[in-house]
Amino acid sequence: MSNGHDIQKTPTANSALAKARTSRMSTSSTTLFLAILAAVLIVLPFVASDYWIDVCVFWGINALLSLSLNIILGEVGLFNMGHSAFYAIGAYTTAILSQRFGINLWILMVLSGLTAALAGYILTAPIMHLRGDYLLVVTIGLNEMIRITLINNPFGLTGGPNGLLVLDQFRIFGKVIQTPRDFYVLVWACVAVLLFSLFRLQRSRIGRAWNYVREDPVAAESTGVDTRWAKALAFTIGAGIAGATGTIYAAKMMVISPDSFTFAASVMLFAIVILGGTGSIPGVILASGAMLVLPEVLRDFARYRMLFFGLAMVLMMIFRPQGLWPSTRWTTKMRESGGK
């Protein structure tokens, strides 16, 4: 009696084909997007004013946050509308440890990431079984709890509504990261590293498991995917990245306060992922830029700009609900001896 491990009724696939399947069909268009993005970002510091460089620094920070939320919301489909909480935990970890112990910011970036990841794991453990709107409401509550805790200045740690100062700066090979251009390089280098990692995860069994959970949690569980593990992993990684981004934000702003980590900020991140195209990395990068750059461009319209902005969002949802750059699935077709 075999144990059912040999359905050898068909010719075995060759390994070249198997290897080809690890890439996505969208690879060509995504590569093109990233190439153009990289070209623009490299040219920009030579032509743009400090003001626009600064806008792009915040685009990068926004991109880091949105990409981290995209893991939770886009890849796994968990409605997390309290992502700012993890960002706040990272930023405050940095500020507190930097102020009290003068720890190097690079080390703090790792520590803040780990703290936020741990918080993400522990705080979401009791709510992991919730779905859709229920999870959404609870994460809003989570966000508010963290923000109000920060305002209340527990043990004199968080500085209350005024927040904390971060006077330390990133240093690399003796050079202090200070000017908008320095931060521009730092932030976008981080985005590049994150993108590289995310693409690898997306193409692995972990990325696939996330997508199975998003599509149908019951079916995923019934085909052998530990859905609890998949969700917890997404929350942990997503929160960790947001936390590490908090360090960059703290160093850039030099002062952090609870006002930066509001519910509205979480809603903005949520909207970026949905508008960009859930689960689509290029889409999320585009949308995180649009959300920052468009209000800047529309600044001339002063008080109407948020109106335009809102209108743009409504129109998007009506005419292109799949997002700016919908995510595509990987296929086997293109690589089989020139395709069919």
């Binding site: 059912g4 198997a18 692995s204 498991a209 019934s222 052998g224 530990d226 699935r329």
Partner: protein
């Protein structure tokens, strides 16, 4: 068929509120067999499947699979233990390609963690290649390899059924549980399905199915168990069950199962009294 029970369902019960969905249900599924579970709608068949596959945990009783007590463990752990299933109402990953759908079955047979995936290690790549090759075999077996790059939602109903079975096979199960695999299929398709199920059994996988299509049930089953009101009322070979008066009684008056009744009557003409047949006629 060997003489060994691969799955022992031992006296399980499940209540939903005041409703006894399954009551003291006992059944052995023999290794290498095709065992069918039939019964009128609402008899509790799918609940039995859900109890075996960990979607529900039984109030009493236990489920032993391959010598291991799997009562109340998580569904994904049940799959890992070697039981794969399909659903009565298809549950595919609609927006993923067919190939991705099938690869999902291999998830629990792979071990690469976050670090291995980030570093893209050789072992991770080899593991994926093995998973992909096996998924391809399963798809070819079910005759859906040509649809590998289609999104699951774009397939025809019959192909979707086959895709779901391929996905279940991809987890290398010892026991395959099929919930109404012939539901919604035409006669040609269900004949084809019967061939496939036999082929799967011949490759060493035990099959346990719920089916309403009596043509399929009587055609492929080694053992048929019959449920009514959450209880097992009969068990035996297709011929024995067809002649069982309790079974015929259970199906009387049930409009949805007129076809089933017709099949049953056919097989048990002598046993059925004139009176019962008339009664059935009235009910229909």
């Amino acid at each position: 068929m060997t003489g060994k029970a691969l799955l022992r369902i031992d006296n399980i019960s499940k209540n939903f509120g005041g409703l006894k969905a399954v009551a003291d249900f006992t059944l052995d599924v023999m290794e290498g067999s095709i065992t069918s579970l039939i019964g009128p709608n609402g008899a509790g068949k799918t609940t039995v499947f859900n109890l075996v596959t960990g979607i529900y945990s039984p109030d009493t009783g236990q489920v032993v699979f391959d010598g291991k007590n799997i009562t109340g463990i998580q569904p994904h752990a049940v799959v890992e233990a070697g039981i794969a299933r399909t659903f009565q109402t298809l549950r595919l990953f609609e927006n993923l390609t067919c190939f991705e759908n099938v690869v999902s079955g291999q998830h629990c047979r792979c071990r690469s963690g976050v670090i291995a995936c980030l570093l893209n290690t050789k072992s991770r790549r080899e593991e994926d290649a093995r998973a992909f090759n096996f998924a391809e075999e399963c798809m070819r077996l079910m005759g859906i390899w040509e649809f590998r790059d289609e999104l699951a939602k774009n397939l025809s109903y019959g192909d979707r059924r086959r895709l779901e079975i391929a996905r279940a096979l991809a987890s290398r199960p010892k026991l395959l549980i099929l919930d109404e695999p012939a539901g919604g299929l035409n006669e040609n398709e269900s004949d084809e399905l019967m061939d496939k199920i036999r082929q799967i059994r011949d490759s060493g996988i035990t099959v346990f199915l719920i089916e309403h299509d009596m043509h399929v049930v009587m055609g492929i089953s080694d053992v048929v168990a019959v449920m009514e009101y959450g209880r097992k009322i009969a068990e035996g070979t297709p011929e024995e069950v067809q002649r069982n008066p309790d079974v015929i009684e259970a199906y009387l008056g049930s409009e949805e199962d007129e076809e089933l009744l017709a099949t049953l009557k056919e097989g048990a003409m002598e046993e059925v009294t004139q009176e019962a047949a008339q009664e059935a006629g009235e009910a229909v």
